[in-house]
Amino acid sequence: MSRWWIRADVFSRALAAYHGLPFVRLADGEPDADLLNAADVDVYLQNLVIPWRRRDGVLQLATCEPGPKMLLFARARWGAAIEFVVASKFDIIEAVQRRFSADLSHGAVHELEETDPEMSARRVISRGQAIAMYLMVTALAAGLAFEPLATIITLNALLTLFYFGSFVFKGVLVWAGGIGQLASARAIDAEVRLLRDEDLPTFSILVPMFREPDVLPILVRALRNLNYPLAKLDVKIVLEESDHETIEAARALHLEPIFEIIIVPPSQPQTKPKACNYALRFARGEFLVIYDAEDKPEPDQLRKVVAAFRRAPASTACIQCRLNYFNSRENWLTRIFTLDYSLWFDLMLPGLQKLGAPIPLGGTSNHFRIAVLRELHAWDPFNVTEDADLGVRLAQRGYSVGVIDSTTFEEANCSIANWIRQRSRWIKGYMQTMLVHSRRPVKLARAIGPLGVTSFVFFIGGTALSGLLNPLCWGIFLLWFATSTTSLSPLFPPVLLYFSLVNLIAGNGLFIYLMMIAPFRRRWTGLTPWALTVFGYWVLLSIAAYKALGQLIFKPFYWEKTDHGLSTHTKREAALAVASDARTRSQGAVAPASP
């Protein structure tokens, strides 16, 4: 079925005949609503079995996987008075969805908030945080009123310390991340070679999409090309009910049954994490990964992840793969964006892993142990960088995240306006994450330790804060440079001036240098000179940071949609994917479309 050699309904009928069981279509004969229990939804979806009817005191269960294993499971669950009917997998899933759509939708939105409200970004600022902010603003106002010079010098000193700490920490991270990388990659490669297909677990793949029908073929092609038994893939294409365009496009592709289309009912907030939470209930794998629609994971990625999980301690809940771009050389923005991503995923995240600090997960290609994900109530639908937040929550619960040398290639944003939309969402999400996890600072510090707190401050808080503060520093520098004014001199006592100079030269220089060496791992040294133009990128970052701050205040849960498919490279990729699909069908490898 995973290769369309046989249609799902034909297979199910054959299976029913083989076992001597009746075949039913649940769309025609709905399950008895009284027999279904909302608390058992996960049991139905993960085992693909559902109570259908009761006849003469015997419970009839509809399943698509009849056999001894199912019999044992069902007897343990519902007792001996049971009998089976066979239904297709899709019928069972759709029946559960029809019956429990409202419950699933409610859970997707509110589960985390209802179980652990302090960990939810639903409330932007807690009462304690509001009081602390009020006190700080009062102290600042009082300082400016009574001791303005001392207050400004103190602020200046704090700013200088923040920048100094930030660049030292990032330098250390890159250095630490580079040590032993090759050995670790070789060990995983060796483990991958030892993996047999039959030992591989079922792997769930979530592909949340919204209004991006054109890029769907790229992902389908990439997933078909994965070096993993297709029968062990459990792919969920997660679509919003209102997104008719993408739903039609997905159906028109006549995908093989490993691809399931999950329609998320409308509710607020309409965010990717909410859609993923909804789809998570349907996932049946031991591991789960999220890919974006235009993603192209390296073919051996899932095998590497399984090998990495086997090598890692049981506390490793997630393996983050690297992200990078397939259209890196399209224009200036894609080049710098590629440098930024290379720095983040190739150099810094391995450093965080090496130091045992919390890792703010990237948007896609993070592979979870599905049980841990459910234990943590999955993603926060109110946080617009739900993965970064989840990374910190994992660390707080004592779980670790591994980083491996396998890349998923994506489409780099090639439009400045689109990039600012995307980055403003990320920065807003980082602000939300910072606010959520600083509500219980002592608990946080105890859970993740001093290094974790440093990483949390400089990596999550620092990213947002530097974007906001940079224009201020540039303004002061430009004012001094253009006018040679001495009016700023009192604000820079000698030691502070020296530190500020170090920050200006060494700090900015180090960040440029890190950008320069970022593509080294991939041997993309052609991008290196572009790091000299990174200042323009920092300006864009600051614009995005202020937009993010505005949105945090006025539209905290609004999901700034990033348009995909703008790149000429992506269009080419999509055309190639469609052509490849057609070629495969014409060669007869794919069965005729199933309704």
């Binding site: 100079l501 030269i505 220089g509 240098y513 080294f520 040294t525 052609g526 991008l527 000179p529």
Partner: protein
Amino acid sequence: MMRTIPYLSVGAATFAAFTGLLAWLALHGFVSAESLELTGKGIAARDGAMTLREFALIFPPLPNLASLAIQWGVSPAIPAPAIASAAIVGTLAVLWIRSFVQAGYAWSTAIFMATALICGPAFLSLACEGPSAPMLALGAWLMGSTAFRLRARANIVDLMGFSASLAYLALCHPFAAFIVLGFAPFIVLVLPPQVTSDSMIGGYLAVLFPVALVLGGAAYVSWIFTLDPLGLFRLLSARSGDLGFDGLSGGDMSYVRSGPLAAWPAYALLVLLNAPVLLGGLRLMRRRLPRAMPLVALIAAVPLGGMLADVLGFSFPMLLMVAPLTGFAAAAVAVLPLEEQRPILVLLLVAAGALGSAATLRLAPDAETPQWVAAMAGRQVETIAIAEHDLGAALRGRNDVLIDALSSPGILAGRASARGLVVPLSAGFEMTRLSRRPATRYIAVSSADSYRRERDAVHAIFPTLYASGLPGYARIYDHLGWRVYERLQLADGG
């Protein structure tokens, strides 16, 4: 922990032995000009005579900051430059022995080779003069080691280490900056081909950016404080001849003044004498030529650096070149393929380098070599910076002295304190500069014929003071190019 104890023991023993050697030299009167200068700067910093400007403009910063840190962090009483030298030599011993052992040499062979490298007479004499030379050797070793690793593994840490070592070199000695320049054309031999295949410029930029940042940063700081971005480099150019050597020449080969091309054979001879293992290494690694490419770059770096310095008007003592060559030799030893060669061959090459080092000391001594040799032999010598030292000693107990002690910190070392001196950038000195009328009881000035004239701020204010004196002031000191005047009425009254 158990594995680090032997290395720590080696480091501690080397530190103790080298400190003992320095004490022996001091006992026989040998105190190098570099040590005096660093000590003087430490005293100036301790007594608040150095402003932020002086701190920011310190070059080369690493030896200065190392000795300042020791003076502040440990005790102002101890001879900080000597401790800094000993600490770096101890570190070199640990790092080199560790790298040799990791390369597969027996402990005894590793210790013998490290000893031969460190105790090569030319290198040892340089190390006794101050921390600059061992720092230079450390930078050269880092540069060489990371260059070999980068070529072999193409790892990001090796790239960072390599470019950081180049930046470090530029900060530890002006001559080292020329080595980096000399090395630049050969970086292509260090970068793995898979890195340069996408872009040669990108590879070069990733390696050289930190050096450019360091030098650009120095120019920027110079511009901030003096409004002259090239001021620091001009100062260095003017002082390169007497950086730690007080402007006195040694033997015939100690300075090359006959043009860079004519100097080439001398530089080549230095490489041959002090680092035969580099040349022998090419032969030993002939079957792994791609991996041996950095050797070619290391062989060329020092001679080319020397030639560039000559072309640009800097003149460094040739003996100084022994320091980077020793570091390069140590880096090369650790990459020679032991499985194909007998370690004895490498060991012989290193031993030959030690003999070559002795020959270098004879052929190209620097200004302080004769005193060092004599003091090593147990004969009493006079420090070469005797002029500053004596002046400082004469000014002990005298306050209210107008003097540019920051340009000649040896004076402070001789006086043991900066208190009571009116030095450049202090309010009193600047008032005198503006009014051109002295207000202090004493004025000290250097001779118009002296090489110090260029940098003596008192001489700049009173150009005829040394020769003609000042009305109302009487000469009370005249020795080795320095004169001190005292205000008459106070002298009479005093």
